[in-house]
């Protein structure tokens, strides 16, 4: 049911804005990411503390807990993944952070370190499916979010061109999404998310609907693209291999009720290869751990 007029379920985020830092903190396109970023404090970009989300079923008046006591801290510029089985509430968590779902307890804070003028953090979101507006050209799809974020029109051509080029879709500006393959559509969605120069990029299993080869190619591209655009990333997936390959940090979630049972830091140096023995080894270890937790429950 679509009710864009209702205010229900809207942002209840407690913002904890830090004072704006100098403009030099903003990464320039093409500036490579190497170790801790220059001029950056080790402050966190996203803090979630003791988050509780309940759904109540109106018919049976039963209440069930979707998220129980979730806490995470994601540092600025960090690539963090949340890994968990399907239906464990990962997407709900992302929606809460994005401000489109309400929650019942705890604190969700976004620290827009690089935001000037206190306009609130820019959040880019890449969904499982591209969610493009099929009736608009690729270019206009990006214009849509730029208009939504009140980016001055004079900057639009440059932002469209840079970001489409970054995902390898230069020249597709005037094409319609329906003429593009699934992989290309997802690239447009990534370009759209990056076009608003997000402080935080939320990604909800962005490659799960693609075939293995396209997904692998996009993963490599993603690493490459993010090194240049470098926002803080919260990446949700059920694919451990993907998480280990991409992330700096992994939160592992279990179901019923959803909670985080382990936090893993991944110090394997970049650039990484999915077949790298450290990565494969770590994936195996984490997988075993997953099973031990899941089996202990059943």
């Amino acid at each position: 049911m679509t009710r864009i007029w209702s205010r229900k379920g809207q942002v209840r985020r407690q913002s904890a804005y830090l004072p704006p830092t100098p403009q030099t903190n903003r990464r320039l396109p093409g500036f490579p990411r190497q170790g801790p970023k220059p001029g950056r404090t080790a402050s966190s970009a996203i803090t979630v503390d003791g988050l509780i989300k309940r759904y109540s079923e109106p018919a049976s008046q039963a209440e069930f807990i979707v998220l129980s006591d979730i806490s995470l801290t994601i540092g600025e510029g960090e690539f963090a993944s949340i890994v968990g089985p399907s239906g464990c509430g990962k997407s709900t968590l992302l929606n809460i952070i994005a401000g489109i779902e309400s929650y019942e307890g705890g604190v969700v804070a976004i620290h827009p370190n690089a935001v000037v003028g206190g306009a609130g953090p820019n959040i880019g979101y890449v969904f499982q499916t591209p969610r493009l507006l099929d009736w608009l050209t690729v270019e206009k799809n990006i214009h849509f979010v730029l208009e939504a974020q009140n980016v001055p029109r004079s900057r639009w051509p440059e932002l469209v061109a840079t970001n489409l080029a970054m995902v390898g879709l230069a020249g597709q500006e005037r094409n319609y999404p329906r003429n593009l393959s699934g992989g290309m559509q997802q690239r447009v969605a990534i370009a759209r998310a990056l076009a608003i120069e997000p402080d935080i990029l939320l990604m909800d299993e962005p490659f799960s609907h693609l075939d293995a080869i396209t997904a692998r190619k996009l993963r490599f591209d993603l690493v490459d693209v993010l090194q240049r655009a470098g926002p803080t990333i919260l990446f949700v997936t059920h694919d451990l291999a993907e998480a280990v390959f991409l992330s700096d940090k992994i939160y592992m979630m279990s179901t019923k009720p959803a909670r985080i049972f382990k936090r893993v830091r991944i110090d394997i140096p970049r650039p990484r290869q999915p077949e790298d023995e450290h990565i494969v080894e770590l994936e195996k270890t984490l997988m075993r751990e997953f099973f031990s937790v899941v089996e202990a429950k059943d």
Partner: protein, 271 residues
Amino acid sequence: MLAEKIPYPTFLASLSPFFASLRPIAPSALTLAAGLVIWKLASLFFLPVFFPGPDMLARRIIEIYSQPSNYVVVAETLSRIFEGFLISMLIGTTLGLSMGLKRSIEIFFDSWIMVLLSFPAICWAFLSVLWFGISQTAPVFTIVLVVFPFVAMNIWAGTKAVESDLIAMGKVYRANRFLLLRSVLIPQLMPYIFSSLRTALSLSWKIALVGEAFGVGNGVGQQLINWFQDGRVDMMLAWGVGFMILMVLIDLFILRRWERCVFAWRSRIAT
């Protein structure tokens, strides 16, 4: 050996490229021709003024449209139709959209739409004559009251089919309501808007004639009444069919073309 088992149209097509180009329209053209022949044969049993044949009807239509004074009659009716059509589209779309977006409006108008839909059109026609007298307002009023509930219901149904995923996407990117409406909601409603346009137009012209017949004193509806009183079926049919052709042309050459432009994105090939 040759043409041994080739079906009839294919056989014709093999004779000349002209017949080959006719092949896609051949079946419907054939049934149409057969219908005309049956009609003509049936008409031979009756007086032409009581049951005219197709040739007779065609002659009458040409007669009507070759008389300049009749253009005024048609123009009067057309202006009423478009007035009523536009007002109904405006009210219907606004109401349907607000019903889809706001629960309280939906609850309030839900049963009223049903009431209006079920109310007989002929009653509106009489009532509007009593309320507004012999005037331009009466038939337009009738059209609006009959047509706008259809439009509202159609658009309302359309809002139920809107993809909430895309709305959520818009909200994440902090699109304001106006932008959501313009870029996300209305484009998804376009199929419903076009089907409403079609229904509204065809309903409008039918109701317009009824309204005119009851009390305006001019327009195509008045012509129908006049010829009815003289018992001239041929002229009544000629006015009715002639006007129908006009409305079909408007549908074909304005609405359909516009629709093709709007939905170009569905079939657009990479350029």
